[in-house]
Homo-oligomer: 213 residues x 2
DNA sequence: ACAAGGGGTTTTGTATACACAAGGACGCGG
DNA sequence: CCGCGTCCTTGTGTATACAAAACCCCTTGT
């Protein structure tokens, strides 16, 4: 693996996991020494982070980790609703019903995973990830997929803020199952509606648990 | 201006204006010598181009200019309809009616510009650009605006393919005026519908004039 | 006392040199 | 004549050295 990729992944994880808090300045020499690489690959990593919006270039003073305010979360979910709603509708039109029906059945059994400890929770997150991947594959639109990908980076960062209690996760699993069911049924409007419902519930939960700043 | 910015702008223009055709390999030393800069800033420029999707890293053999097929154009407009439709609806909800009413009046007078020569045509394109900018400002959603921005780069590239005849431009001006009118009226659904109509007409025109490959 | 300008320090931007990996061509052997 | 191996070329990936620019602070003048 290239050194620049390693630096990018490390910094990206540090930012997403809130080990590098918003406002932190990332000086090039400092970070390159911390990660044990040279400035050149580190600069490429910082460029990629800035392109994604995780950092912003503060002229002459290095790059700083971007902040996420409550208004940002609202805007984020507004775009997310637009993109994922359309994605669900397109998946309902073009996807393979059998695939999503299988996912629906798995999601209905998910509450058992949620009750368990950490490894089971990881399995649940993988299951949700597989639903996202199935939707991505079904819509067969590279541009739409990429737009959603660039969103997910920020969403993971927001998700870390919310306390993922078992009650919310159980409800979310049911909502995901409803989305999968609508897609399997080939009903675009229903799929979009189910997605809208799920996202509004998620947003409410995030805003309710994390009252800050 | 930084050398990397200059290189980025030059390469971006070369690709958008089809002076660098799809499939062209951009070797680092070759391009750095052509632009009169060193490899380091050129690499940053290539990274930004690749992040935007204008080029793709062809493992170990430099980066190549990405191709745009007819399927790509379909996918591009599918995403565009999703984003700009939502943007128009949000602008209708949140925008200042007076701003868009003024734009509507200007757009109705646009056919006079279209008949003229090149400088008048440039004025027309500026007018359409101002409508886009007004929508961007009205929706006040940085994430949605950025998603549309990353789309517009590819759209400009496609637009260069289509022969912009006067008849189509006149019709497009009327469609734009309809969008502005719907936003000024504060009617989100109408604004979205007008946008959908305009984009479908644009797509049809592009596909009709440019039958390839 | 406050503001404006200048110098020092720090940090980024650029250039170049080197290492490594991949691809192709040439030559050798079967 | 064909196939395979090795060498050479070419290109990217990384490190480091140098230059320019921005910021901070100190000084000085009003």
């Amino acid at each position: 693996m290239r050194a620049s990729d390693k630096a990018y992944a490390a910094l990206r994880d540090d930012i997403i996991e809130w080990r590098l808090l918003p406002g932190t300045v990332l000086a090039e020499v400092e970070q390159s020494e911390r990660l044990g690489i040279s400035r050149t690959p580190l600069r490429e990593a910082l460029s990629r982070l800035t392109a994604e919006g995780l950092t912003t270039a503060a002229g002459g003073r290095g790059v700083v980790v971007t902040d996420i305010s409550l208004e940002d979360i609202d805007e984020l979910f507004e775009l997310r609703e637009t993109l994922e709603g359309r994605a669900a509708a397109l998946a309902a039109e073009r996807g393979d019903p059998a695939t999503f029906d299988a996912l629906r059945r798995e999601l209905l059994e998910a509450p058992e995973l949620i009750g368990g400890q950490d490894p089971a929770l990881h399995d649940y997150y993988c299951l949700v990830g597989r639903l996202d991947a199935a939707i991505d594959a079904a819509i067969s639109n590279a541009y739409l997929v990429q737009a959603m990908r660039s969103l997910r980076v920020h969403l993971v960062r927001v998700r870390r803020l919310a306390a993922d209690d078992a009650a919310r996760l159980t409800a979310a699993a049911a909502e995901h199952a409803a989305i999968a069911e609508a897609i399997a049924a080939g009903n675009p409007r229903l799929a979009e509606a189910a997605t809208t419902l799920h996202l509004h519930r998620s947003l409410s939960h995030v805003k309710a648990t994390h009252i800050p700043h």
